[in-house]
């Protein structure tokens, strides 16, 4: 099942290119990553850019993704959510945190949207 997301922002601009593509650029963004109707995680970031043609959501600046079903969260400089792969690609000082432990920092990490699995790109066939 492909993933998708919802997003809210304080400021936004949307550019429409024909009928099939829209580019939205937003700041002070928060939202959710979903699998069907189920919320997998929630995110916060300084800014975001969503491209409906590529199915990619790019979050930048103090990005935080919090698992909905576990007390763990991911922080990074940049997070790309690929809707078609239904995977998170995190870049820049990436850490996975919980109250009891920390994993990282990493330059780059791939994760499932609910953060049940994280790893190097080769572990996800990328």
């Amino acid at each position: 099942m492909k993933g998708h997301w919802t997003m809210e922002a304080q400021k936004s601009s949307v550019k429409l290119e024909g009928e099939e593509r829209s580019l939205a650029q937003v700041s002070a963004v928060q939202g959710q990553l979903l699998k069907g109707d189920v919320v997998e995680s929630r995110f916060l970031a300084d800014s975001g850019e969503a491209d409906t043609a590529t199915g990619r959501l790019v979050l930048s600046g103090k990005v935080k993704v919090t698992s909905e079903r576990d007390s763990i969260y991911l922080t990074a400089d940049k997070v790309t959510y690929d809707e078609k792969l239904a995977l998170i690609i995190a870049e820049g000082n990436v850490k996975v945190n919980s109250e009891a432990w920390v994993s990282g920092p990493y330059d780059r990490l791939v994760a499932t949207p609910g953060l049940e699995r994280v790893g190097t790109p080769d572990r996800f066939g990328l």
């Binding site: 698992s67 007390s71 009891a100 432990w101 990282g104 953060l115 699995r117 790893g119 572990r123």
Partner: protein
């Protein structure tokens, strides 16, 4: 500036309990799976991967580690089970009262699994195991080399402190065992130096008895607290080593219809 092909792969810390009590690091490729508020399973590759778990007195390294860690009541992490492959080195240490025990293991493959009130270590490939117990009365070093074996220990974070290297062991040969056992008393220090070879070894921790069977060869030098050392050796189907409660050698008995040669003095 290094050329791209000369650059070393990056190494990462994949688990750190933030207390200095648990860490898995020097990892180049990894995958972690999280059970909600529960266990963490990881598959880590490196050259080698390194780690430690202080509550378990455990330090380990291997080229690949597939393991499950769980949270402890103290807020740290511990290894629940694991499979280590490729240049495996494991050190386990504990101190209870005045007794310090250090065990060292080297192999190409080690599997560790927690069972009810014990830890099972399975060694399907050639290994070297050493166990050193030091206390106010004892200094006993045992070294064992064999192609495969299974050891049962108390839970790693609940060492028994009884001078037993393990609860039980079953090792397949050809096996080489050396023992250097010193026992201190008011009258002085006595010593047993033992070298043994055989096809199969079993150890019973409750009885504190080690039995080596099959094509057995053994040499023993006993140095009493006073007097000259006595040496003897033999060949046969079995040799039996009994240990004192402080882990020192109590008695070595050859059996199975073989020959025993008693030599005066401490050497040839």
């Amino acid at each position: 500036m290094a050329l791209a092909w000369q650059q070393q792969p990056k190494k990462y810390v994949i688990l750190d309990d933030k207390q200095g009590g648990f860490k898995v690091y020097d990892v180049e490729s990894y995958q972690l799976d999280f059970v909600p508020d529960g266990d963490i399973s990881f598959d880590a590759k490196g050259q080698p991967v390194r780690g430690f778990s202080k509550e378990q007195g455990l330090v380990f390294s291997a080229n690949r580690i597939i393991a499950t860690a769980e949270r402890t009541t103290g807020g740290s992490l511990r290894i629940k089970n694991g499979q280590l492959t490729g240049k495996v080195v494991v050190d386990v240490g504990s101190t209870i009262g005045d007794e310090t025990t250090k065990s060292h293991l080297e192999s190409e493959s080690v599997t560790m699994a927690e069972e009810a009130n014990q830890t099972r270590i399975t060694l399907p490939s050639a290994f070297m195991f050493s166990n050193h117990v030091v206390s106010s009365t004892a200094d006993r070093l045992m070294t064992l080399r064999a192609p495969s074996g299974t050891f049962v220990l108390p839970p790693l974070d609940q060492p028994s402190g009884s001078g037993n290297p393990f609860k039980s062991a079953d090792v397949k040969g050809p096996i080489t065992i050396t023992l250097d056992s010193k026992r201190k008393s008011e009258s002085g220090t006595s010593r047993h130096q033992v070298e043994m070879r055989g096809d199969r070894m079993r150890y019973d921790g409750a009885q504190r008895v080690l039995v080596l069977e099959g094509n057995v060869q053994y040499d023993v030098v006993m140095t009493p607290t006073k007097g000259e050392p006595v040496s003897f050796g033999g060949e046969g189907s079995q040799v039996r080593v009994e240990f004192n409660e402080d882990s020192t050698v109590k008695q070595v008995t050859g059996g199975g219809g073989g020959t025993v040669t008693l030599r005066s003095g401490g050497g040839q």
